[in-house]
Amino acid sequence: MKQLFFLLFVLTTCSLFAQTTISGIVTDKKGAPISGANVYLDGTYDGTATIDNGTFTFTTEETGEQTLIVSFISFETYSTTNLVKNLQNLTIKLKEDVNTLDAVIVNAGAFKAGENAKVTALKPLDVVTTAGAMGDFVGALQTLPGTSNVAEDGRLFVRGGDAEETQIFVDGMRVFSPYSPTANSIPTRGRLSTFLFKGITFSTGGYSAEYGQALSSVLLLNSIDEPEEERTDISLMTVGLGIGNTQKWKKNSLSINASYINLQPYQELYPDNNEWHKPVQSFGGEAVYRHKINTNGLLKLYGAFSTVNFDVTQQDINMQEGIRFGMKNRNLYFNASYKDFLKNDWSIQTGLSYANDYSDLDIIDDSVQDTENAAHLKLKLSKFYNSRFRLNFGAEYFITSFNEDYTALNEDTYNYTFNNNITASFAEANIFFSKKLAANIGLRGEYSSLLNEFTASPRASVAYKSGANSQVSLAYGQFYQNPKNEYLKFNTNFSAENTSHLIANYQYVKNKQIFRAEAYYKDYNKLVKYNTEQPLPTANYSNNGGGFAKGLDIFWRDNKTIKNTEYWVSYSYLDTERDYKNYPTRATPSFASQHNASVVLKHFISDLKSQVGLSYNFASGRNYTDPNKSGFLNSKAKNYNAVNANWAYLISPQKILYFSVSNVFGTQNVNGYQFKNQANTNGIFESRTIKPAADRFFFVGFFWTISDNKKDNQLDNL
């Protein structure tokens, strides 16, 4: 009984404690009152919201030390611990949360696509539904400003740089031969299949110190962490077939897909201007295994294997019977990456990629076997001090071993080989001074054992939010890249090639509309030169080349004005000259066009359950050398024009019929000219126009998805 009394006494008295009043005012950094902020004592029911003038008052029966918490959306949560009686007439200044969508973004040079991007120039679907892109993500990126249309090549040429100045990374690890090999004048395609990726960052300059060995541009692809569900995809296409399957378990998932492409039936229906002895036949298989470790750790293993075979005779003005070119290529790529969060706000990212590429080429009567083994190892650590300061640093190692066996018609054999190993380390700080001002500052060091050379590349970019919807950014960086394999196999007495980028960017984003303008200046130094018609073992090589590229890139995207329609317009102006390879003088190279423009339009017609797409590409004529005139790269070919169309029809939620035509109007485009080595009797060098293999390309495909989710389809794979 006594115990009960005591208990009751305690219970009754506890409500008799004296009340303390807690009060104060909540403002932002500048002292403007914040109304509606949540103010309370942690672990109690006592609290209130601030009123219009930012003040708050509430009473509590708590005593002693208590923690007062003030939180408001878009601001960092504030807390203070003190004796209750001291929590009076407080003035609390909340710091803006810099992790919000309207905070400034350091983005000079970069375009992002994917769910996590704050400003998306390309949406995930765009990568695959852009007319003319033919389901190749590289094709979709070529509708962004900063790229030059080089129709006969198909790779990415960025801001006056050639295709090898762009490097591609998957989950931070280098991809060594990202493009399928093709014959001359036939555009290539990326080897990686689009559907494995959830995010793409395409940087046309001024990128982070984390990435090196790229003079002009990096393309960063992030693979899917966790597939949504188990599914099977079947594709039947005019050019081949494909099958994919995803399996999911509790902590693991596995996706595999295989494709077989054979252009023979197509080429029999629509012959092109090449004589195919063996049309392109390719087989590719990919597998991704993902394994979750503990709560946040994720291990990804990606493997891809592909083979490409063809045998073709292509026209050549100097050889009446044409040039016969046979190719057997085999490529194996493996990529393992691991990321995890560690204690004290550290995180780790590490990986390994390995590639083995073997090509057996027959060029007229010569035979060439190339073997390249390459690997990339990387370790990166990040420390998240707070939302305003983050430090990343790491080290990486690149190994390339190249071997070529060359057998000439007369049975003479030659062997060329080299090992190109590079050690690199980098550090970068991401700093938010406020929601309006942010900067990334980094430094990268590289040592090449082959060239016995150390290079240091400082990188910096800063962004300032100039208005509610607009921002300006500036970026500067030094970039180094070792000379290409085709030179290194003959000579290794080189320095690394170098560029510096200076970029100024203005961006305006409002309500599903994006406007971007970017001006840049690139200075090229130490480009490789040689004094023969082709790179040969007998040539004299030097690093005496150089050049510049400057220009303006404009981008406008509007998803709002026209109902059910999205469109974007890109324009790039490029002024570039360089002295490299065997150029006798500084000149605008043949891959650079002064004006490039793209218009891409997508319209969804609900009644027809269809999405139709149209795109228009324009590139002003590119230079070539006409030996009938004096000078080097002295003439301009005609402009490039192509209108492309596609139509995706959803037969049912899981079955899609897809039609696509590139260059609908069959515009006669010119890739360049070839001239005779010898002048004819009238003293004139005769010429041949190099045209695309075919003016139009038709594609029809049927895509079928089998999964529990009756709404899923392969629209994202097209």
Partner: protein, 212 residues
Amino acid sequence: MKKIAILLAFICVTSLSAQTQYEKGMTKAFELWKNNESAKAVQMFERISSVEKDNWLPPYYAATVEIISAFDIKDEAELTAKLNKAKTLLDAADKLSENNPEILMSYALLNTAYIAFDGQKYGMTLSGKNVAIYNKALAIAPNNPRVVLGKAEWDMGAAKFFGQPLEPFCKDVKKAIELFKKEEQTIKFYPYSGLERAKEILENCEKKSSQN
């Protein structure tokens, strides 16, 4: 002595009822929510969750109210700020009660808020996630009326888009209504609601079906 005991017992009872501040707080929060003071309701639920550290209901409601209020927002920055906050709260609830079908439904609702804002941008990635959530919830709680209703509503959206018949899903809505009626309401403040909405959907469903 007896009198004193009774008196004390009475005081004890009143003070005990005063003690269930949890109930008072929750009731207050629901009142705020009902009176369209979503922001204040969210704050109340947040405060309650700072005390009730083992109870998944306060953070669940804080998140859910935040998500529902996000559907009216036109500014993307505000939308993501709100939904990020809701996600943090839902994660907290999920830690306290794993594989809870009600929490899973709120995760699906969160994704739906993004999809409703910009289908082209968020639809492709998030609609797959939602289907996975509904399938998971249905496997855990096949007789939870809110799960059955949520999945039916989602499927109807897809069927409408492709011009397919809605009847099979009307059946699911009917089943949900039966389950709602059978549901035993034993836990205080548990989110039992949804019957009214189910009835509304069924009415529309039957109208549309009879038109076809």
